[in-house]
């Protein structure tokens, strides 16, 4: 055996100190943004014009009123492929631009499922605009166990020219479904050079809760609910059988 050059050494000495140094530096660096984030004030709001767009694509569909005023919503999440908007505090709008749509009904069903994490009946078909470039899909409110989901509208419009292969999509879910669905549908028509005033192709339910007891929305409890069911909030309480009872 012979000695090798002294270019390298074995493990550094002082393992306890080294451990604290390495882990300490990493923890401080990882916590730094969290601490800064705590002292940076929240944005007052992020209201902006509702728009269907995609980073790196020049084509977009701005949503306006008939008088060309911008429809404003708060952008709550800007992911690379989808944007989530909180509109009027009671409705969620998800916007996106996708490429290479083969079957608009299939695409709208898939996009509703992926953006709102819900299952959509494969038998649901979208209705088409007269020019065949825009499509609308209605997903009725569903009962899942004791919960009801609000109805969903999904709208799409195909791009033109350089954007022929692109499709702008908006998914609307909430109590202001009618307002946002019709404005987006009309804005999609305006994007194709058609008049803003359009007949909305879907029949939206006036009262999606008509089959529920009393016809009220299940989450709207009567003022005297707590008085009616005091045992519900005690130890070992059970859910009362509300079938046939008016909430």
């Amino acid at each position: 055996m012979s000695v090798i050059e002294g270019k390298y050494q074995l493990k550094p000495q002082g393992r306890g100190g080294l451990w604290w140094s390495i882990v300490g530096v990493a923890v401080v660096l990882l916590l730094l943004p969290t601490l800064i984030n705590l002292v940076v004030p929240d944005k007052a709001n992020d209201y902006k014009q509702l728009e269907i767009d995609l980073l790196g694509v020049d084509w977009s569909v701005p949503i306006t009123t008939e008088e060309s005023a911008a429809v404003l919503c708060e952008e709550t999440s800007d992911e690379i492929t989808q944007k989530y908007w909180d509109c009027n505090g009671d409705t969620t709008v998800v916007t996106m631009i996708v490429e290479g749509v083969k079957d608009p009904s299939n695409t709208l069903r898939r996009m509703v499922g992926s953006s709102l994490i819900t299952s959509v009946d494969d038998s649901l078909e979208a209705v088409s605009s007269e020019d065949g470039r825009a499509h609308a899909l209605y997903v009725p409110g569903q009962q899942e166990g004791s919960l009801w989901t609000l109805p969903i509208v999904a709208l799409s419009v195909q791009g033109s020219g350089d954007y022929e292969d692109l499709t702008a999509i908006a998914i609307i879910n909430g109590t202001s479904l009618d307002y946002y669905s019709t404005h987006i549908w009309s804005s999609m028509a305006a994007d194709r050079g058609l008049p803003y005033q359009q007949d909305f192709p879907l029949m939206l339910e006036e009262e999606p809760w008509q089959d529920t007891p009393g016809g009220d929305r299940p989450f709207e409890l009567p003022n005297d609910f707590f008085d009616q069911y005091p045992d519900l909030f005690g130890p070992g309480s059970v859910i009362p059988n509300l079938e046939g009872e008016s909430l």
């Binding site: 055996m1 012979s2 090798i4 390298y8 050494q9 990493a26 940076v40 004030p41």
Partner: protein, 321 residues
């Protein structure tokens, strides 16, 4: 194996197991065939890259007396697991506030750069440092490069699996189309990005640990410097360009620097690694004082910083022709 670091390593891996279930949970939303294709691609990616890395002389050799049989497997497995699950878990914990902060500040252009590069490169580099100090057979700068590459590979494969599942869910036509498109994108555009970036950080960290006669400042400088290179490349790669030209220029520049640097590290260490015979594979135990005295290596003339003498490497006896 240093107990303090090895305990940290295995406890962290144990604690990160919930991250595995989070990864698997994405498969619930994807059809069976697409899940299978996604997993097959991930396994292929993993096996091919590990095989190629193990064929280089930079791959640490765990054979020989004095080292446990299977120590090499524990090292490779822990490196991959750190990247895939501990790194992923740390990012899950700390990326949220970074994203929130960039949103508050309106830094849209660099939002994904900070959210992605900052916690990810720190989490992976931390793993490399802990692993290098957990296995005594790791004692060369190129061992840091390979360890970093494995940590990065684990992270990359897990990320590709998640991207594959996301691609499936987000594809406008079919789950399988999305999986195939995402794997095509991840293997054609910036392949091995995490593998190489963490390799760079690992190389710098190993230089800091294993180069003899260097100041503490030099050691911190070289470790942070190489980790910063990884961060800067990752940061640039994630920039949110609104115009396509900006994206293309970034991809080209980052690719040239990243692959160029990887080739440089391989090229500059290849011969030394091939000829190296470190103590990790001493052919037998030391049985006489003559051999023992050889452990105390002389400090070469002109050394920059005298340090306390520490055991140096013993060369394997050269075969007589």
């Amino acid at each position: 194996m240093s107990r303090m670091f090895s305990i940290t390593l295995w406890v962290a891996i144990l604690l990160s197991t919930p991250a595995l279930f989070l990864s698997l949970a994405t498969f619930i939303f994807v059809d069976g065939i697409s899940v299978l294709v996604n997993i097959v691609f991930a396994v292929l990616y993993l096996v091919v890259i590990v095989f190629l890395l193990s064929r280089t002389p930079l791959w640490p050799r765990f054979k020989g007396s004095g080292s446990k049989k299977g120590g090499g497997f524990a090292w490779a497995a822990s490196s991959l697991l750190w990247g895939a699950f501990v790194g992923f878990g740390i990012v899950m914990l700390f990326a949220g506030p970074v994203m929130d902060l960039t949103d508050k500040l309106g830094w849209d252009f660099v939002a994904m750069s900070f959210t992605g590069a900052y916690p990810e490169e720190i989490a992976k580099a931390l793993g490399v440092a802990i692993i290098l100090l957990s296995f005594r057979q790791l004692n060369r700068p190129w061992h840091g490069f390979i360890t970093g590459a494995l940590v990065g590979l684990g992270f990359e494969v897990n990320e590709n699996l998640l991207y594959g599942a996301t691609g499936a869910i987000m594809d406008p036509n079919a789950d399988l189309d999305g999986v195939l498109m995402m794997w095509q994108y991840r293997t054609m555009l910036g392949p091995l990005i995490h593998t190489l970036l963490t390799g760079f950080a690992g190389y710098g960290i190993a230089l800091a640990f294993f180069r003899a006669r260097k100041t503490v400042a030099w050691r911190w400088g070289v470790a942070i410097g190489w980790t910063l290179i990884a961060f800067a490349l990752h940061f640039s790669w994630n920039l949110m360009w609104e115009n396509v030209i900006g994206s293309y220029v970034t991809i080209i520049v980052v690719s040239v620097v990243m692959y160029g640097l990887a080739i440089y590290i391989l090229w500059s260490n290849w011969a030394e690694a091939r000829n190296d015979s470190s103590y990790a594979f001493v052919p037998g135990i030391i049985t006489n004082t003559k051999d023992l005295s050889l452990l105390d290596a002389p400090i070469p003339v002109g050394a920059e910083v005298p340090e306390s003498r520490i055991p140096q490497q013993i060369e394997e006896p050269k075969a007589e022709n």
